[in-house]
Symmetry: C6
Subunit: 75 residues, 6 copies
């Protein structure tokens, strides 16, 4: 797979959160490599509350990692 | 998405907990971008015990992050 | 919501565990704001093994946070 | 509830693991306070692979906490 | 239960991973104490993708603990 | 099992992420030792959104470990 992750450092917490979302999606993309199929599946789970909560959980775990990597963006 | 997360620092643990709730909901909102649809889904899962527990779990993971970012609000 | 969380410090590990239970329940209460409805739902999930295990998992995550906040109550 | 958790310190990792099991069960017991009902439920989930895996997950989270509290029993 | 866990220290990351697997299985064995029953259940969940993923998740949590205990086997 | 994990150190975060994927799959492989069966199961879960999210969650937990082992690849 082409380079997509060269650093965990981000300028702001929000960028860190968005990186966490990318990481969560990449965790899926390495298993289901077809972008078309992922798009189809997203149509389903985006309308299911529990599926969305599960996806949000993965983001939360990755956000822990990214936040620690950035020392929580403390000034 | 407009700026919504500029710091993980909060004055009190309770504000930190409420930030964790925001983070959990944002994890959903990035996938299901329609506020109307999220409102519909909430009507369902708010009446399902397991769905609520799963949502509470996501909050718990984010609260770990926020609490660490604030050094646990130790005096 | 009125003040309910002013500190993560507790005198004993057991009080810390009980705070973790409070945190888990608050994670639910912010989504399902009706105490009456939460009471109804509890009657169901309290008799379902998997629901109880899921609830215990949320407590475990919060207990990690509270224990770290108290430096594990080491003497 | 009577005192049941006065310290997270244990002499060995195995005692720490067994404390983690106690913590997982207590997370259930605070919600389902009837020991008789818990016994009934155990008969069911002890024969369901996924239920056992979920229970093992809760133990794993608590074991992280207990292990950290004991500095991993490093000599 | 006889002694089965005297240290979290391992020589290599792979041995640490295998210890994590042992810990995950012990989390089950303390609840379902019949080895025969566990063997039966394994036949089922070993052929179910989601069951295997859930089991892998428990291993992941324990591997975090073991890896931290070994300071990530850094040289 | 032959040597497959000799270090948690990676040169880049992306290599770390890919190691996390390997760890998640190994967590399955130790339980379901037949590669042929794992391949069959993958065909199913790769087309199920929730299964993919669960798999991504395991990757997220392992990525926390690998990232910590590499001090988050900070320069």
């Amino acid at each position: 797979m082409a380079d997509w992750l060269t650093s965990l450092q981000t300028k702001t917490p929000q960028e860190g959160f968005e990186l966490a979302i990318t990481l969560a999606r990449k965790g899926v993309a390495y298993t289901q490599t077809s972008a078309e199929m992922r798009e189809q599946l997203r149509d389903n789970y985006a309308n299911n509350a529990d599926s969305l909560t599960m996806a949000s959980q993965v983001v939360a775990v990755h956000f822990q990692t990214v936040a620690a990597a950035n020392n929580y963006w403390k000034e």
